[in-house]
Symmetry: D2
Subunit: 342 residues, 4 copies
């Protein structure tokens, strides 16, 4: 049986990635697409790579017809999403890809986003969308808050270590290398090709990045005490992909065991043999995340690396994984596309 | 019903691309993989992006067990392929991705490849593998000769124009921009990242590129008289993709009509509206080819552009398209993966 | 003796490139910098790579103090430049990098730029700034119109062939591959890293690109009859550089002779031995242009390739070369920086 | 007065970079070039970007004529350098760019390079070439051991902090992002464009990288006790450049003070205002190193970033800086070339 979905905010990169994945998903079909700035246009005009698909035209969010829609993906900008979702029918399942419902705590939301949450009841209802760790809640949920793409990468690397108690909670450092598409299809000077080729820049350094709100929330919940990591993302000359390098204090063997045990039945999380590191390109275009563990020369210090595709496993692939659960479909349906390498 | 295939020469890029595509192909499964230089290794060691798949180990070509194999993809180096295929069972269907059987004429082969063909009977038997133009022969064929990736791109842009008689046959210029993977996974100095970033170089300039043998053969056959184009490939800083710019003498309207008429029912060949040009990235990772036609300011001159992914539509995707026909499967099966953009 | 110069419009890429070159130029020093959108800022804030230099602050164009300035480089947007230059002192030497004064003919200007020229007297006074071909006029000139970067590349490849009468004037095709910086430091969607990696797109196809106005003007003047070439630029994933591939009808030997004869004493124009093609990266960051000639397999057809750095030899390096002549300095002064490879 | 230099091993990237820099150096000229694998060739054949220079032909190392040579740069492979330098005249000044003389301690050398040093007397004589910290010894030295490029980057970020006693010596983490040219002009599969675009990979993880030998030697000497940092380099899709992100325990104010104080008179080391981070491209093609300090949200934790060009400030620029000192030239002579951005 096929379920009909809508994509609200389909004119951005995560919207296009949803369409790409649904195109070969046997259980989903697209019933409506919105994109305010491109309303009236065909998707093929906005994203010519989707020209082979028979898709509805883009409408404004106001004009979306949700009749017959089972589930809506919201790929709208942060902030405005709260209002839009508040206005959607209560019987519509929603997977949100924005940052609006990732933080459960009202004060934390205000701290990281600079204003009070406008929909505290929805905030309370929302389920954090890191599928591998919230599977049951997601399956039963109505409103799922897709995680930040950096937040997903770091959590895949670190959650099992915190849960297993094998690392020092006060000395966790996470260094990220991220491609440009994470910043969306927005024309900003620092994202220009002329600026980015042969360049690397650290940004949101020193604890300013909003995905830290997610790390704090999740890691502290697992540990049962406050955990604050150091986290530095770097923009690198690539369009897709996140590569995380985590520096932890703990025995490498115990770290590797914690990851392999936690992920032994996970279809998308692949832990490499001890001593190996993944390549960012090895997961490009896919819903897989590869992880590696290497012991440092100094006893008790370990490096954990993780690679995923920010638009797929970090956003839209995760969203479909969650939608599969919510709709009673096999979790991996439509998501087993092999990475595109080279 | 699932057909079992072998990939001979699976340790190169086209071999890996075959595995990628077969991974989500409902009608094919992989029964054997060979790769002499990597014999004994798991595919995941050679190509970590395929780690999620349950694949046979790589063997030498001598040790391949072809029991139960319906069709073999040969992704072996040029030259040695002839011998290997001569030694394969006569009841095995073969899709060859090398250059060994692309030219039907013995003299032409010797001209372009510098030595006589060692298997003239196989050469006579082989069907040229440009699916859209040799469909019936391919469906009935036993040995299919996959085309050159540059040759495929140029032919998609030009064949209908020659067939329709709408361009001057003596003034066809084809300028190609190609990514590095077309040269294979071979460690050559000019393919190094340090050499290629921010670089463009023309190569095999002036009529030296072997794919000209295919252009000559095919265009002359269509025209019923000798046709020799000018053809200049350029290496650009990208890993995948071919972008062709053809300069022809003919009315743009007639050119556009010829392409749209020829390809109106083709699932993978997409002609853009008059005046539009494709982007190379719009077909990345897919079996699609996008084509565009623009009239020059000078009456009677037209620019035709075409973009495809050299490893997919230009090689391994084409190979599977042909295999589908040979095995009685729907031609598009397993090949409708949407392009990966951005 | 040191000459003091001003750079009007120093907050763009060509402005920054002027500063880079002047930084090690023994005969020039910077007396004033303007940049309206960044007025009040230090150059190091706008371009951190210039942080080691002691530079005047950016001012608005109105606030520039031209006292003691010998020569002004105008790196302002097209269109507004006319007004600005009209308001500058008559005894100030000016090298303009905009498109405003490249076309000598009022009607041609209106055709290509869509409106009448506002300063026809200045237009009449301006000298076309392709140094190697207008040396004497430039040395005596007051207002020099820097050429388009694409226009410079194509002219270096083709002017001597037209002048020597060795090619068919009605069949000249020019295919360009250009890096992103040619479009300036403007935040446009199609210039984003996420869009451009692994991408190639043709643009301004079919005779729409404004640099054709320059080609028409110059080639027709040399030939003494109208010459209209076909010209297609392509955006490639690089930040700097232009690579031209010209297809001409003429004997390769005569073509190579024409280029080597014309350029035998030119310090910046380097013709490779017959049969060789340049690499775009071989001139990166420098004022050199490398050219190559290859005979096609068909008699009477020749491929000419040319590579230069759009921001240097194509714009700011050319501007300084012209300024050197205007100020009585050695033409190569400050411009012999070797290319940065790899 | 001009000094004549030889470059032994001129056919690699650091050799070419030496030639590039010497090309506009007023006090140096090139008297001899060796390159065994390219002996007999012109430099322009090996590196076409140097075609405008009048250079001696490449010879074998045996055939180099050192008559009249004041100083030799050795850019030879590790290991063989020891023999070559042992055979050079004792009155020849030498700047070595290999790893052979970086470690002062015989045991340390054997640990990191896997065999005993063959020339212990030369090892004892060699001066570590990190100019800013060994100026006097270098000026008086005969044999200077150029530092590793990663080692230089990390030391610029960390030496003043260790010297000033403002950070915890047992918790220093150094995460590096490096371009491909650091691996030299060697055709290796992992350095291919097809492999590296859109890719990031950590390598020599866990304390295996040989530059750790330098960090250990230098940091321990400064501290007066053993210091062992964690160090992870990552290969990123760029040709030049190193970007270091160091995580230290110490107050950001004290860290920033230590760097600004140490480097206040340094012409090539530029410390950004507190809270700012450099961009890797801001130093491309130059001898500058930009450094930044940002306080973490957690008191007592600080992030230090540093960017330099591995081939210039990290290798050949440093070598010339040292040669300037050894020859009595101004230290910055020929090295003030502004970075090439964009």
């Amino acid at each position: 049986m096929t379920h009909t979905v809508a994509i609200l905010g389909a004119s951005g990169y995560t919207g296009a990635e949803l369409v790409r994945l649904i195109a070969t998903h046997p259980g989903l079909e697209i019933g409506a697409l919105s994109g305010n700035s491109k309303a009236g246009m065909a998707m093929a005009e906005v994203f010519p790579h989707l020209a082979h698909l028979d898709l509805p035209k883009l409408t404004t969010i106001e004009d979306v017809d949700l009749t017959g829609i089972d589930l809506a993906f919201c790929a709208l900008p942060h902030g405005t999403t709260q209002e839009v979702i508040a206005g959607l029918p209560r019987d519509l399942k929603i997977v949100d890809l924005s940052a609006d419902f990732r933080l459960r705590d009202a004060a934390a939301y205000e701290t990281w986003y600079g204003k009070p949450h406008a929909q505290p009841e929805l905030q309370a209802e929302a389920v954090y969308g890191l599928t591998e760790f919230y599977r049951d809640d997601i399956a039963k949920g109505r409103l799922i808050a897709g995680t930040g793409c950096n937040a997903a990468t770091g959590q895949f690397a670190l959650r099992p270590l915190i849960a297993a108690g094998v690392i020092d909670l006060d000395d966790i450092i996470l260094d990220l290398k991220v491609g440009a598409s994470g910043a969306g299809r927005s024309a900003k000077e620092n994202l220009l090709t002329a600026e980015m080729t042969e360049n690397v820049t650290a940004y949101s350094v020193g604890g300013k990045h909003r995905h830290l709100g997610e790390f704090d929330q999740e890691f502290s919940a697992i540990a049962g005490r406050p955990v604050e990591i150091m986290f530095t993302p770097h923009l690198i000359p690539a369009s897709r992909g996140i590569y995380a390098t985590a520096y932890v204090k703990g025995e490498a063997g115990a770290v590797h065991d914690a990851l392999t045990t936690a992920y032994k039945d996970e279809p998308f999380l692949h832990v490499l043999p001890m001593g190996k590191c993944p390549g960012m390109k090895d997961v490009r275009g896919s819903n897989f995340c590869h992880l590696g563990v290497v012991a440092d020369r100094r006893t008790g210090r370990t490096i954990v690396t993780a690679a995923l595709d920010n638009l797929c496993k970090g956003s839209s692939g995760q969203a479909i994984q969650n939608a599969n659960l919510m709709l009673g479909l096999p979790e991996t349906e439509g998501l087993m596309l092999a990475p595109v390498f080279p």
